[in-house]
C-alpha cells in the first residue's frame, strides 16, 4: 500500500490543491479520466465541508490518499479527509432535495449527498475530536 498525507491550511481554494494531488495519484493507478473527475469533485466537497463546518482550532485539513490492490497492481484509491473540529452527527442530517432547497432561504448543504453519489464507498466517522470522511473508488 502506498500512502500520501497532505496537511492543508484552511484557506480559500485549498480544496483545489487537494484535488490536484487526488488527480495525480488516481492517474498513477490508471483510473479513467471520468472517474478521476468524480474523485476530484468528492475531494473538493469533503475539504469544503471541513473548511466550513469543522470549527477546528488548528485550522488544518488532513487529506490522506491510499493506493490499494493485490500483487503490485493497485486498483483502488481510498481517501481520508480529516479535521480536528467539533464533529457532527451524520444521522442527524436531513437529506437535501431540490424541491426543499428551492423553497429554502439556505440553498447549501449538498456536500455529503454529492460525495455519496460520486464515490463507490463512503463512511463518515465523527466525534468530539473531529471528523474523518473515508471514501473509496475502484479504478
Amino acid at each position: 500500500m502506498r500512502e500520501v498525507t497532505l496537511a492543508l491550511p484552511m484557506v480559500p481554494e485549498m480544496e483545489i490543491e487537494a484535488s490536484k494531488t487526488a488527480t495525480a495519484i488516481a492517474e498513477s493507478i490508471r483510473m479513467s479520466p471520468d472517474r478521476i473527475d468524480e474523485v476530484r469533485m468528492a475531494v473538493v466537497e469533503a475539504c469544503i465541508n471541513a473548511l466550513e463546518h469543522s470549527h477546528a482550532s488548528d485550522r488544518e485539513v488532513y487529506v490522506t490518499f491510499q493506493v490499494l490492490g493485490e500483487g503490485g497492481d493497485p486498483d483502488k484509491l481510498r481517501i481520508m479527509v480529516r479535521d480536528t473540529g467539533i464533529g457532527f452527527s451524520p444521522d442527524g442530517l436531513e437529506e437535501p432535495t431540490i424541491e426543499g432547497k428551492l423553497k429554502a432561504v439556505r440553498k447549501r448543504g449538498w456536500g455529503l449527498k454529492i460525495i455519496r453519489g460520486l464515490m463507490d464507498e463512503v463512511e463518515i466517522l465523527s466525534g468530539a475530536d473531529g471528523t474523518t470522511v473515508v471514501m473509496s473508488k475502484m479504478r
Binding site: 484557506v11 480559500p12 481554494e13 485549498m14 480544496e15 483545489i16 490543491e17 484535488s19 471520468d34 473527475d37 468524480e38 476530484r40 469533485m41 473538493v44 466537497e45 469544503i48 437535501p96 432535495t97 431540490i98 424541491e99 432547497k101 428551492l102 440553498k107 447549501r108 449538498w110 456536500g111 449527498k113 454529492i114 453519489g117 460520486l118
Partner: protein, 116 residues
C-alpha cells in the same frame, strides 16, 4: 492558488448565452448570478449557461445556480445548461437540478429546444 471564473455573454434574439471559463465556487457562482440578473433586467427571460470552459464546480457555487433557477421559476423564465463534463452533469442529476433546468449536450441543440 486562485482559480477565477471568466464570464462572457452573447445576447441573441430572445435568448442570452452565458459562457463560463474556470472554477464555479462561491465567487464564480456570484459572478454568474450577477450576469444572469443583469440579463433579466434587460428583459431576457431565456438563459442558457454554456459550461464548456468549466471543468470543476463545487456545491456552494451550484447553490447559487439554484438561486437563479428559483428566480427563473418566479418570473416564468427558462434556464438551461449545455456542454457539461460528465461529472458535472452527474452532479446536477444527483442534486436534481435537471428537473428544473434542462441539460443539453451541445449549444445548438439547447438553443433550438429552448426557443421552441
Amino acid at each position: 492558488m486562485t482559480e477565477s471564473l471568466n464570464i462572457t455573454v452573447d445576447r441573441r434574439e430572445g435568448l442570452a448565452v452565458i459562457y463560463t471559463e474556470g472554477y464555479i465556487n462561491n465567487q464564480g457562482g456570484e459572478e454568474i448570478a450577477k450576469a444572469a440578473y443583469k440579463l433579466l433586467d434587460e428583459g431576457y427571460k431565456t438563459l442558457l449557461l454554456n459550461l464548456a470552459g468549466t471543468k470543476i464546480v463545487n456545491s456552494i457555487g451550484i447553490s447559487i445556480l439554484i438561486e437563479i433557477i428559483e428566480k427563473m421559476i418566479e418570473i416564468d423564465g427558462k434556464l438551461g445548461f449545455c456542454c457539461l463534463t460528465p461529472t458535472i452533469e452527474k452532479t446536477f442529476h444527483i442534486m436534481g437540478l435537471a428537473q428544473y433546468a434542462p441539460i443539453y449536450p451541445d449549444e445548438a441543440t439547447a438553443v433550438a429546444q429552448m426557443r421552441s
